[in-house]
Structure formats: C-alpha cells, structure tokens
C-alpha cells in the first residue's frame, strides 16, 4: 500500500520547469531513493511535499490526505519529517535542546503554553533525546552549541531531530553529504537498521551510489524536472536511459 502518492505535479520558477509532470508512489515500509544530476528538481520535489512550495498543479496525498496548501507545521504533525540539504538546526542551542524541541512538538502539538512546567522535569523527553543522539553518535556532545558542529555532524544532528519524532515518513535530502567515509558508513548502518527494525518509510535523495544501492528498495531517476525511470536498484544499474541522462555511466 502506498503511503505517499504524487500525481502529475508541476512546478515552474519563471520560465524554468523545475518539476515536469512528476509521478511518485512511495510504499509503506520501503526505502525509496531519488537520484539525478544537479538541478534535476529533487529538492524542489521534497519542498512540494512538506509545504515549503505549493505545486502549480497536480496532487500530493499522504495516507489518503491531500497535502496541497497544508501548512508545514501541520504536515509535520501528521508524520512527515525532513533532513534538509543545507542543515536546518537551532544553531544557538545545545544539541540536547535541538533534539528535545522536535520531541516536545511531537508530544504537545503545534503550540502549548506551559511556563509552569520545568524542562528538568521532562526526564522522559530528555532520555529519549539522549538515546536519539546516541543513535547518531553524538551523545557525548549533547551539551555543545549546535553551530560549532562540523557539517557532517550537523546533518547527523538533524537526523536525530527527525528520528525523535518517530515520523511515518522520513525525507532525507543528501543525508551523507559532507561526511567522512567512516560517518557515511555509520549513517547507512543506522538508516538500514531503522528501516529493518521499525519498517521506517523513507525517501532518500543521494548522490553517493554506494549509499543508494546499499539502502534502497526502489529508485527513481530524475533529470531536468522529469522522471526518467523508476525501478528496483538492480535494474537501474544497467538501464541505458539512466546511463545516458545521468552520468554517462561513469559512477555506476
């Protein structure tokens, strides 16, 4: 059964057709990779899923509910969390605060006026956040200010923030960019584990083919705003259309 259904979505910036009749169907429990050259429209597609952009036409449904025109915070509340291509974190706050905020949002909803509660009384939220930080290997840095992290660490922090919400759909925009090989492998292992253990549904945009082929159940290839192929990873490698449009075969 498909959790996310994108139907004939178009989006233009001025004269540039960033998304051209896009269709995408993400099955519940699957890891769906989107690959394609720079400027193919991958991030734009994710922007249309989380309410950052509104498509010019077409439909996006999540668990049977239309996401068109729904506010970003509502889309998150119904179970969609995203790791961005350029990290979006709370830079002036500590890592633990960074993870507790999404966790509180998940528990308390879009707004809660509770100045009479104390953060140090939120033991459950704190423990949960610590275990999420431990999962991405940042537990010992929990009291550090997020802005001082390296780019790869910021991305891992953002992943921990998303995981703390236990999302129905996890969107990852180049989750391993800027990471050392060691951390990339570690992140792949983590994503694989949550995919297998919790059956986490994910959409992963990735340039690193090693990551794509070790994680994905399905691969969608985009170029110039359109979908070229959608198939299982093992069939993608040999597909001549992909080789031509995407890489000239170099990386595959």
């Amino acid at each position: 059964m498909s959790l996310l259904e994108v139907n004939d979505v178009n989006k233009a910036f001025g004269g540039l057709k960033a998304l051209n009749h896009i269709n995408l169907s993400v099955k519940e429990g699957s890891v769906h990779a989107i690959i394609g050259p720079n400027g193919a429209g991958k991030s734009t597609l994710l922007n249309c899923l989380i309410g950052r952009l509104i498509p010019d036409s077409g439909t996006v449904t999540f668990g049977g509910r239309s996401l068109i025109g729904v506010r970003p915070y509502e889309i998150n509340q119904i179970g969609v969390s995203r790791v961005f291509q350029t990290p979006e974190i709370f830079g002036e706050l500590s890592l633990i605060d960074n993870v507790m905020i999404p966790s509180l949002a998940h528990r308390d909803g879009t707004f809660k006026l509770n100045p009479w509660h104390r953060m140090d009384g939120e033991a459950e939220i704190r423990d949960h956040a610590m275990s999420n930080l431990a999962d991405v290997g940042l537990a010992e840095k929990s009291e550090i200010i997020a802005d001082s992290l390296s780019r790869g660490d910021k991305r891992r922090l953002e992943l921990a923030m998303c995981l703390s919400q236990d999302p129905k759909l996890l969107l990852l925009d180049e989750p391993t960019a800027g990471m050392a090989r060691h951390d990339t492998n570690r992140t792949i292992d983590l994503l694989k584990e949550i995919s297998e253990r919790r059956g986490q549904t994910m959409v992963v945009i990735e340039h690193d083919m090693h990551v794509v082929f070790s994680l994905a159940h399905y691969v969608t290839v985009m170029a110039q705003g359109g979908v070229i192929v959608e198939d299982r990873p093992e069939n993608i490698k040999g597909n001549p259309k992909v080789q031509e449009a995407y890489l000239g075969g170099a990386h595959l």
Binding site: I50, R52, R71, P72, Y73, N76, Q77, S81, R82, F84, E88, I89, F90, G91, E92, L93, S94, D97, M100, I101, P102, L104, A105, H106, D108, G109, T110, F111, K112, L113, N114, P115, W116, H117, R118, M119, D120, E122, E143, I144, I145, S148, M161, Q165
Partner: protein, 385 residues
C-alpha cells in the same frame, strides 16, 4: 559565585531567587554607601527592573526587538489612574486592571506587528507606539486628559474608598498603608520579586525553550511541527503585561499619567537597559535598568557648582576647561554619557554586563572546570537580532 547562573536545576534556581529576594529587600541598607538609598530612586529601580525583565522575555528569548513597549507602559498608567478614580485608591485592582488592559493592547499590536520580522517588525511597533502617543494627545483626550495628564481628583467617585478618605492624601493606599516612602518601595519590590520568579519559570520551561527556538530558526520550527506565530505572540503579550504592570506602579505614589510616558525615547530606554545588562540573561536586564537609573540620577543632578568642587584640585586655567568639557556630559547632557556607556558595552562586551561578570568570575576562579569551554547557554554571547 556566578557559576550558579549557568546551571538550570531547581536547586540553583531556588538559591538564585532567595539571594535575589534578600538583595532586593535589603536595598535600603546596601545602597547607602552609593548614595542611592532614597525610596524614590529605589522604587524606580524596581519599576524599571520589572519593565526590562518583561522586555527581555520578548527580546532576549525570541529575538523580536520591539521599539514600542512604552505604549504598554502608558496604557498601564492610564488604566491604573482610572482604577483609582473610579474604584478607589487600593493599588491591587489598579495593577490587575492595568495588566489586563496592557495585555489586550499587546494582543492587538502584536497580532499585527508579528506578521513581519526583523527591522520591519521593529518599525511597526514603533509606529503603533507613536500612534498611541499622538492619539493620547488628540482624540483620546476624554480618556487621557491630553497634555495636562490624568490625575485623581477629590470629586472622583472612588466607590470602594470609605467616607473618611475624602480628606486624606491622594496616594495609593493598600489596606491602610500609604504607598509613599519606604512602603511604596517595598510594595514595588515585592511585585518585582514575584514577576522575576515568573520570568525564571518561563526561562526554564518547555515554553521558554520554544521561545529560544523562535529566535534561532523559525524555518526549522515550522518543519518540526511548531506554529511559531502564537509563541511569538504569547511572548509579546506577556512582555506587554510586564510593561503595563510597571506603568501602573509608576502611579501608586504619584497618581498621575501623562502621554510622555509613551514617547519613543521611553521605548528606546528599555532596549538600552536590556542590552546593557545582557539580553537573554536572567538578571542582566534588571541590572541594566538599575545602572541606567542610578547613573541618570547622579549625572543629571550634577551642575556647575558640583563640577567646580570635583575639579577643585586643578590649576586655574585647566579647571575651567575641565568643567566645560565635563559639563557636556552631566545635567541635561546626561544622555551623552548614556550613549558613551552604551557604545562601550556594545563594542567591547556584546553580551552585556552579565557577560563581563562571567568573564571576571572565570578569570578569578580560574579553570576549575577544565571542560567548560563550549558549554550551554552562558558562554555564547546572545546575538541581538
């Protein structure tokens, strides 16, 4: 000693509030060597401490810089005087009504102004405050009594005041205690302690954490499932209520409200107090308020003859020169001194006086905690934007 300011568990907060309470209540004693132990001046410290503490909840936590908070001060004052006029001289209903009125006013102005961020937000708040100021002088004169100012008259109904009060003095009166002199100060001091305690609670709460998130990254907040607007609006209303409370307290000893209280200079002053003390820190804004009011009191009271005695030791010609230069910075020219102080702090101590104290404490107590380089909170200077 400053270390407890960096921790945020319940015990250290209780220690903080106990020390703070003692410090406030003993002001008449320890301010004596500074020549600042007059009830009048101490009452001012408390009132502006409340104003700045509230302002800090908005500016320090969410980063929204309002240039119109004096409007809420004015609303608080007018409401309090009306409460005296209609209900009687008891300050408690006056405070409650002032807080409610300022809150409603803040809801309206905040709702409109918070549609924009950054400099546009600041300009909007400034515009609304100037509008309120002008309205108070023009169409609203039936309520504000225009340029003369609103005051309590013998002929006012004051329905809950007993018969005997008709000939008594027209100052606020808390169940028989007149709000003048030390009792006026202590009343304001108790209010200050209560609302500071509430401010600490906000800082330590999940709600306070969300306000810090508003300052840091509103985009991320949205994609994290949080609606930023009501958080910012709630902070705006709470800080407006603090301002209204301060405005009402300004009327307890001298029940008079004038529109000049809403002028933009008054809005600017609370910004200076907050930044000078340390925006986003718990005690900084109050410290800034106290220091500015203290120096205002000293410098603005200087005149020719006091300067003459200060520079008495200099030889003839130099004395005149020194007096004429120093004369620029005192009396009417005290704002020049304030401007200099402000520049020095902003340039050399962007975290404000609290940041300075922290550095001092670190230098004195050395590196006891070797691992304390990039700890949470304290060590990053709050960036004011």
């Amino acid at each position: 000693m400053m270390n407890f300011l960096d921790k945020d568990n319940l015990q250290s907060d209780i220690v903080l509030i106990v020390i703070f309470t003692i410090a406030i209540l003993t002001m008449p004693i320890w301010l004596q060597p500074f020549g600042a132990a007059y009830p009048d001046l101490m009452q001012k410290f408390a009132i502006f401490g409340i104003f700045a503490t509230g302002f800090n909840i908005l500016f320090g936590l969410t980063g929204y810089l309002s240039f119109g908070h004096a409007a809420f001060l004015g609303v608080g004052s007018y409401t309090a005087v009306w409460s005296f006029k209609l209900l009687g001289m008891n300050p408690l209903p006056a405070l409650v009504l002032a807080v409610i009125a300022a809150g409603i006013f803040a809801l309206a102005i905040g709702y409109l102004s918070l549609r924009r961020t950054g400099i546009y937000f600041s300009i909007l708040t400034l515009a609304f405050a100037q509008m309120s100021y002008n309205l108070a002088y023009s169409v609203l004169t039936p309520i504000t009594n225009g340029e003369t100012g609103l005051r309590v008259l013998r002929s006012d109904p004051r329905i809950f005041d007993g018969n005997g009060s008709e000939t008594g003095p027209l100052v606020a009166n808390l169940f028989g205690i007149e709000m003048t002199g030390l009792s006026g100060f202590y009343f304001c001091a108790v209010v200050l302690i209560l609302v500071s305690w509430f401010a600490i609670m906000i800082f330590r709460s999940p709600f306070g954490l969300m306000l810090k998130a508003v300052k840091t990254n509103q985009n991320r907040m949205g994609y994290t499932g949080l609606n930023t607007r009501p958080y910012a609006l709630a902070a705006f209303i709470i800080s407006g209520m603090y301002a209204g409370l301060a405005g009402a307290l300004m009327c307890i000893t001298d029940p008079l409200a004038g529109a000049e209280r809403m002028q933009w200079t008054a809005s600017g002053e609370v910004v200076l107090m907050t930044i000078l003390g340390g925006a986003g820190t718990l005690m900084g804004p109050m410290l800034g308020a106290g220091l500015i009011k203290y120096f205002e009191n000293i410098f603005s009271s200087f005149n020719e003859s006091t300067l003459e005695s200060v520079f008495h030791f200099l030889p003839e010609g130099m004395r005149e020169a020194a007096i004429s230069v120093a004369g620029l910075f005192v009396g009417e020219g005290w704002h020049l001194t304030l401007g200099l102080m402000f520049m020095i702090v902003v340039i050399f101590l962007p975290g404000g006086i609290i940041e300075g104290l922290r550095r001092l404490a670190k230098a004195v107590f050395g590196r006891k905690r070797a691992d304390d380089t990039p700890q949470r909170g304290g060590d990053t200077a709050p960036t004011g934007h």
